[in-house]
Symmetry: C2
Subunit: 132 residues, 2 copies
């Protein structure tokens, strides 16, 4: 399984609402960096961020427009992708899709993600979150 496959499996687990499966694909020393906001380290810290956020979503889609990888062998390498991360939030007539255009960088070592860094415009995200 190349590094691009690891990233694809990670995204599929997130979309499938299987956060624990996604976390298994992270290295124990993973750095998760939401560039304009903050970075954290370790799968538990990633869970602390994603679990409450995903719990507020009835559907999650991460649309990968392009993905490019450098395969260094042994399940290691560098992956970058261009995505639109979509989160369906709220219920009933208040339900809406929050969409974030972004570029992601993943460093993969031995089949586990050691660095996950997303570049996006924070205001674009927050304006939608608040329903603005």
């Amino acid at each position: 399984m190349g590094p691009g496959d690891t990233v694809t499996s990670f995204i599929q687990a997130i979309e499938g609402n299987d956060l624990e499966r996604a976390l298994e694909l992270l290295d124990p020393e993973v750095e998760y960096d939401n560039v304009p906001i903050a970075k954290v380290h370790g799968p538990d810290a990633v869970r602390n961020i994603l679990a409450p956020f995903l719990a507020g979503c009835s559907e999650v889609e991460w649309v990968v427009h392009r993905q490019v990888e450098q395969d260094d062998g042994d399940g290691s390498g560098t992956v970058m992708n261009e995505r639109t991360d979509r989160f369906r939030m709220g219920e009933g007539e208040h339900a809406r899709w929050v969409e974030i255009p972004l570029a992601g960088l993943f460093a993969v070592r031995g089949g586990r993600i050691v660095l996950w860094r997303d570049y996006f415009d924070d205001a674009t995200f927050r304006t939608q979150l608040t329903g603005g």
Copy 2:
């Protein structure tokens, strides 16, 4: 010359203050998309954006931390990179470096860039521009 080489040559021309050389590496139908701000089409539109901005800089460095390419042959393919674009602005004691962390996407066709899209946080950029 692979698509990654085209992108590297483009960046070197920008850093070398040779905007016309950089523009020669763009396809006549290039789309230049600063995601949180606006997109334009064609080398002349790119010149209209970059020329006045670069004229205000005494030094330009685009530090490429990582670059990944998919080489489709015939000088075509997809390139993504993680950069810190640095611009030295102002003069004398007021001179300062404006630094933008970003991820870039380049689609290359026959040795020319047809799509150049940068993902970054607009507030991070503007706060520095205004010296805040």
